[in-house]
């Protein structure tokens, strides 16, 4: 079998992988990123709505062909379709972009290449190579040949379907209530308001998840749905729920899809362990998706940068042990864990609310103006009108 040697191998060329490869290459490490697909960024598996504030943290300017639309805020629709408008000033001046993920992923891959990283597409990692009980690389299939890629540091950015973590002995399995099945149509010729990302909650719209309308521009929007595996009655698929919703909404039913997007997303707590000897898991592979929103891009990028930086520290120390790589685990936990755990609790609590309770919450919030949207502010406003609902949130109030 042919063999190549690198200092860092990144498996998966999504945003997390590219940010890791960029950071590692920038630090001077000989870095290879492999991607099983034949084109980076496709097929898209994303609703494409992202917040913007974190881009600065990873050193990316908010400009370029990957931005499709800038939104002013969000609207939350209750089961009976009353809605609550949250504008940027209420969300800590955080606006949002609807992006072109295929272009965004390519943009980040280019950034990694500019820093000196090698990139191989159509290269499928098949398993870890162990020596003396420790991973020293992966075997991969590239075109029609198997190849050994040796690297003391392997960054697993292999997404929702993560295999590398499993191979390294990390428990990555999810329970059904922590998995959302997703489907989205990019609809052209619809009546959407391009100023807002819309979210529809409730068991009539999307059991255990939500339906989204993220406008790509005038008359064009990603209309998608995430449905909890534990909550969708019978064997109804994401497609059944999405088609049902669109049929009920004439402004969208007249649209034509130019792109169908399928996938699944984890809405779990982060993994208990995200490092092993020579291996670091980033982004979706580490289950760092925000469990409340299902958004994974920001945390993937942030954790990817940390992993690339820790790879450099490991090389400087000549120590690739799990114990040393815990530095990576500490970094992402310090930056992300508190919010992930809080939002997991919020997701679980919201999941217990009935449609009637959700209607009441939106109704209560419609009648007051919340200056800054925080969990506490929302709870106070609801408490004023429907105190019995707030009881559900005692754990959040205490936290």
């Amino acid at each position: 079998m042919d063999r190549v040697d690198y200092e860092v191998l990144v498996v998966g060329a999504g945003p997390g992988g590219s940010c890791a490869a960029r950071a590692a290459a920038k630090a001077g490490l000989k870095t290879l990123m492999v991607e099983k697909r034949q084109e980076i960024g496709t097929p898209v598996r994303c609703g494409e709505g992202i917040a913007t504030a974190w881009l600065n943290d990873i050193g990316v300017k908010p400009e370029g062909d990957w931005i499709a639309n800038e939104v002013d805020g969000a609207r939350i629709f209750s089961p009976n379709e009353q809605y609550l408008t949250l504008d940027a000033s209420q969300a800590g001046n955080e606006t949002g972009f609807v992006v072109e993920r295929d272009l965004f992923d390519k943009f980040l891959a280019r950034e990694a290449i500019k820093e000196g990283a090698d990139v191989w597409i159509k290269t499928n990692a098949l398993g870890l190579i162990h020596e003396n009980g420790k991973p020293v690389g992966v075997t991969a299939r590239r075109l029609n040949k198997d190849i050994e890629i040796r690297a003391p540091i392997i960054i697993a950015a292999d997404g929702f379907e993560s295999r590398v973590g499993l191979w390294a002995g990390i428990k990555t399995q999810l329970k059904p209530s922590d998995i959302e099945a997703c489907l989205q149509y990019r609809l052209v010729g619809v009546d959407c308001d391009k100023r807002y990302n819309d979210f529809y909650v409730g068991s009539n719209h999307a059991p255990g998840g939500y339906l989204w309308v993220f406008p790509k521009g005038e008359g064009e929007a990603n209309v998608g749905i995430g449905v909890s595996l534990a909550k969708s009655p019978g064997l109804a698929t994401a497609k059944v729920w999405l088609d049902k919703w669109i049929k009920r909404h004439p402004g969208y039913a007249k649209g034509k899809s130019i792109e169908d997007v399928a996938g699944a997303v984890s809405v779990s707590q982060p993994l208990k362990r995200t490092v092993a000897n020579g291996v670091m898991l980033v982004g979706d592979a580490a289950r760092l998706v925000d469990p409340l929103t299902g958004g994974g891009v920001a945390n993937a990028c942030v954790s990817g940068v940390f992993a690339g930086e820790v790879a450099k520290a490991a090389w400087d120390a000549q120590d690739f042990s799990e114990r040393f790589l815990q530095l990576y685990e500490k970094k992402w936990r310090d930056a992300l864990e508190e919010q992930l755990l809080r939002n997991y609790l919020a997701k679980e609590t919201l999941g217990r609310l009935t449609d009637e309770q959700l209607d009441k919450i939106v109704d209560a919030l419609q009648s007051v103006r919340i200056e800054k949207v925080t969990t506490l502010e929302i709870l106070r406003a609801v408490q004023a009108k429907y105190p019995e609902i707030v009881k559900e949130f005692e754990a959040l109030l205490a936290g």
């Binding site: 379907e161 489907l183 595996l229 059944v240």
Partner: protein, 69 residues
């Protein structure tokens, strides 16, 4: 054992990541099941387009996943 309707499948890997037994691999544009499959049916449930179904008469009686849900 499961079967994949190749005309419906969108190669999204939702089943790959959901499978608790590492029994599914995505090769380019096709999904392959290996011998680790125990017919827990999690893949049927996660498939956004309903492309995965049991092959009639081949299902094993091992709904192991129940224990972890």
């Amino acid at each position: 054992m499961r079967q994949v309707d190749r005309d419906t499948c969108m190669h999204c890997s939702a089943c790959v990541g959901t499978c608790p037994f590492d029994a599914i691999t995505l090769f380019d544009m096709h999904i392959v099941f290996n011998e680790k499959c125990v017919d827990c049916s999690m893949c049927d449930r996660v498939c956004p387009v309903g492309a995965i179904t049991p092959i009639p008469g081949t299902e094993r009686m091992k709904p192991k996943i129940r224990a972890t849900t």
